[in-house]
Symmetry: C2
Subunit: 231 residues, 2 copies
DNA sequence: CATAAAATATGAGTATACTCAACTTTGAGG
DNA sequence: CCTCAAAGTTGAGTATACTCATATTTTATG
């Protein structure tokens, strides 16, 4: 072997796409990443439901997902972020589900809102044990301390825009007067209240919360019809 | 020295009050405890305001308070508990302050509620940086995971009872129809909304939130006067 | 005052969320 | 197939909230 074989080859090789990311479809890399993310989410969900958020360690999640502990943090900035992911996914599913239901599109506003909130409660039911720890944090405004806040803000905005759209349909059909963005904000706030009630509700099948939900929505739309919003 | 001096004296000494705690007034022990608690709170408040909740370590707080790190946990179960303490104290102060103001006792309901909420906002202003992190947690329902929840529930109940009393005065004077416990709950929920708005409000002196507070309270009482609550 | 029990303080130790420098895998270009 | 840069993985290391066995202080009692 000559010394030459150790010399660096001066074949000024092009960097593989230096600026924009390659983003090729169906590559092994992308497929693996997706599978790993799925495995983390599955492991986390199972453990959160089993032992709650605080009692589940990131070490456990990683072991169950078959990865190193450090890898988990390549996928989710924090453990809280991981928990919040379920909400993000649910919000997206919720919007898709609502838009796909033709009958619901024509239903009265009250029914629409009831259906939306009811579906959300149904979804969070299995997570009851760790939901309290995560739900309220998703409301926190952005702060330099929490790298999560931006994302949870985005989630909140997506939800508010969705509600805004539903209300606007009601406005157009003359079911309620113009309530603007504040209307969506009020519904969001109402949802917080319902979840709080739901978390405390020990009645069979959370019947009390469902009853409250029904009555409060009727009350709200009735008030709006009477023009209570003009102030 | 004889071996006898090592023998246990068999003078069957009475245990100093075995059952009930001594609870003596003005003792050195009680005085020291109070002073230490004050020193911890002072140090914590200063640091929280300076660097926020997350960035402040318990080691720092202890050092500033002139105690060992372990001692801090003899006074407050968790760091969160320490932060929550400010709210507890404020709620107690708030109730005292309201009851001491004779003019306010006779004012219309809207003014009472505005005064109460406005004072709360004023109080939390200096804590803005860490309030978001603590405020929403104080809403979480009890859970075996969080040893804090019981206390924060108690705090919430104290506040709700206070609001309930104010509303009851309005009911008696015929300012609003009977709203019951749910009325207090609604005001509490409204307060959550106002604080959320306040946290996001970048207008000078939080003017927008104050305007919203004023208008929303008028709207609310007007609706109630019209009998909107009957459902 | 002397003593013991109870209350409180202490800080080294533990558990765990998260970081980071070193290692491995992938895929484009030759 | 070979090379190499970029992407991704790894687990030992770090920071820090909280625990607990031991030491110290206070108080009640003879």
């Amino acid at each position: 072997m000559s010394a030459l074989s150790y010399m660096p080859k001066n074949t000024a090789r092009k960097k593989a796409k230096p600026g924009a990311p390659p983003k090729q479809r169906g590559g092994k890399r992308e497929k693996n990443k997706e599978r790993t993310k799925e495995r983390i989410l599955e492991a986390a969900l199972q453990l959160f439901r089993q032992k709650g958020l605080e009692q589940t360690t990131t070490k456990e999640i990683s072991r169950k997902a078959g990865i190193a502990e450090g890898t988990l943090f390549n996928y989710f900035k924090t453990k809280e972020d991981l928990a919040l992911y379920f909400f993000q996914k649910e919000t997206e599913d919720l919007i898709r589900w609502f838009r796909a239901d033709a009958r619901l599109q024509k239903a009265p506003l009250t029914e629409k809102l009831f259906a939306v909130i009811h579906r959300q409660l149904e979804y969070i039911e299995p997570y009851e044990d760790f939901i309290g720890a995560v739900f309220y944090r998703s409301l926190q405004p952005s702060s330099t301390l929490s790298p999560l806040s931006l994302e949870s803000q985005e989630l909140r905005l997506k939800y508010l825009r969705f509600i805004r759209d539903i209300l606007m349909e009601g406005e157009k059909k003359g079911e309620i007067p113009w309530v603007g963005d504040l209307g969506a904000y009020a519904v969001g706030l109402f949802y917080v209240g319902i979840v709080t009630h739901w978390l405390h509700d020990t009645s069979r099948g959370k019947q009390k919360t469902l009853a409250l939900l029904d009555r409060a929505l009727s009350l709200g739309t009735n008030i709006l019809k009477k023009g209570g919003w003009e102030w």
